[in-house]
Subunit: 242 residues, 2 copies
DNA sequence: CGGGGGGTTGAGCACGGTCAAGGGTAGTGG
DNA sequence: CCACTACCCTTGACCGTGCTCAACCCCCCG
């Protein structure tokens, strides 16, 4: 079994980090500190965001709803994540953001965002980097939903969350992390039914890979987890012509 | 049947555009013009990008490969899209980029990217916006892969591509657009097998929705297409507590 | 004329969804 | 302190969407 530290570096492809093993520094700019209770809505699908948030602590769930109520979780926002930066700039949001825990966030009203960006190049650069990180997470999840089996999907998501929490949440060490999610949240993230997620969790537990009890995730065997998640040395198959 | 112009505005949620009905202006900065033949590789998975590209004309396919060869297309890059902006900044790419047509692109070597960003705030802001647009596309695709049926997925992708080409490629008008893709490309984008994509295309054709012949896509009935894609007025179901 | 890449179609199967029922636990109020 | 309740987790049996395998066709290009 590899060590947690070795795991963190070996799977950097899963969670690209600007500065591995340390939280990202806050972005410069005239931010306002705010806090939210668990279950609070930072943003609703269809609304025009009034502020951009940088998460400082806690978990935020980003999800999209179809007209008939089907939900897809598109991101788990941890400290360092940016919420509310739209395209087009003053357009409506395609996602809802709700807190899963108590959350501390820095807010930048969109009314002053433009001038802040122009006067503070480091803010613009930092935002571009953070959004690029979010795009990377979305694309990694796309690979799972499109081309991995159910079992690989939940293994990969748990590995991803484990690594991200260990990187982003300072107080976390050891093989256990808190995971403030229900199985329904997980199901809506990996595109499965809650029942089937439950089955896959049981398999992973019975095979001694990971155990998810209460609201804590315990990694039992890092090697097995990497294997189950389908993370390996680089796929050297290059892009084919055509 | 709604008009194409009405379609373009009614589905702005599918393809967020900074300035609907007109191509995005080139970003400022010391860009170098380059061209690529069809099938060229701009970037290979696992490599460290040497330049950031802004696509000026043509199609570029962005895809990720699993170790066993499974492929997932994560973006179709059209004029205005940014390629090669990584997170972390000097890290390896998780995707391969290959051209599908002859492509004109503007290149900015990463060696001068940092100074260009610092001296040109509009470049940094523009990059952040373009990356945000790419993130939005990735998240929209996530919703399809996670929560739509096979038929909805291909209808939604065809609608999305139709609208994006009409917005981004100036020479395109009418109900037909060129689509330089094989059914295998479509399959790798929507997470289905090529055979099943073929079946769904047949259904959509038989129902008079869209027809894909040769390398051109023809929209037969815009209303039906919106309906099949599961695009509707806003899902007013708000985020639930917890 | 031959070859190859892509498109088309059908038959059978399996992965994952649906339906149904039960159990554990934490919070709440009597 | 002890129901009561609501939420979440768990498990099993059955079913359907979408995958696999196999064959054939068509068109373009050599």
């Amino acid at each position: 079994m590899v060590s947690t530290r070795a795991l963190l570096s070996s799977v950097s492809m899963v969670v690209p980090a600007a500065d591995p093993l340390s939280p990202e520094p806050p972005l410069p700019g005239p931010w306002l500190e705010r806090t939210f209770a668990p279950g609070a809505a930072l943003l609703a699908q269809g609304d025009v965001p009034t502020a951009v948030y940088e998460i400082r602590s806690g978990w935020v769930l980003l999800s999209s709803f179809l007209p008939d109520g089907r939900r897809q979780v598109v991101d788990f926002c941890l400290p360092g994540s940016i919420i509310g930066l739209q395209h087009p700039p003053r357009g409506t949001s395609e996602q809802s953001a709700q807190t899963l825990t108590r959350v501390a966030a820095a807010a930048l009203p969109v009314s002053i965002l433009g001038s802040a960006l122009l006067t503070n190049p480091l803010l613009a650069i930092g935002l571009a980097q953070r959004v690029a990180a979010g795009q990377e997470r979305a694309r990694a999840l796309l690979v799972s939903l499109g081309r991995r089996t159910a079992r690989e999907r939940v293994a990969h998501l748990l590995l991803d969350l484990f690594v991200r929490v260990r990187l982003r949440v300072p107080a976390c060490a050891g093989e256990e992390i808190p995971l403030p999610l229900t199985q329904e949240h997980l199901a809506d993230a990996v595109g499965l039914s809650p029942k089937h997620v439950n089955r896959m969790l049981r398999l992973l537990r019975e095979h001694g890979v990971v155990a998810l009890h209460g609201r804590t995730l315990r990694v039992l065997d890092h090697d097995r987890l990497l294997d189950e998640a389908g993370v390996a040395e680089y796929p050297v198959r290059l892009a084919r012509a055509g």
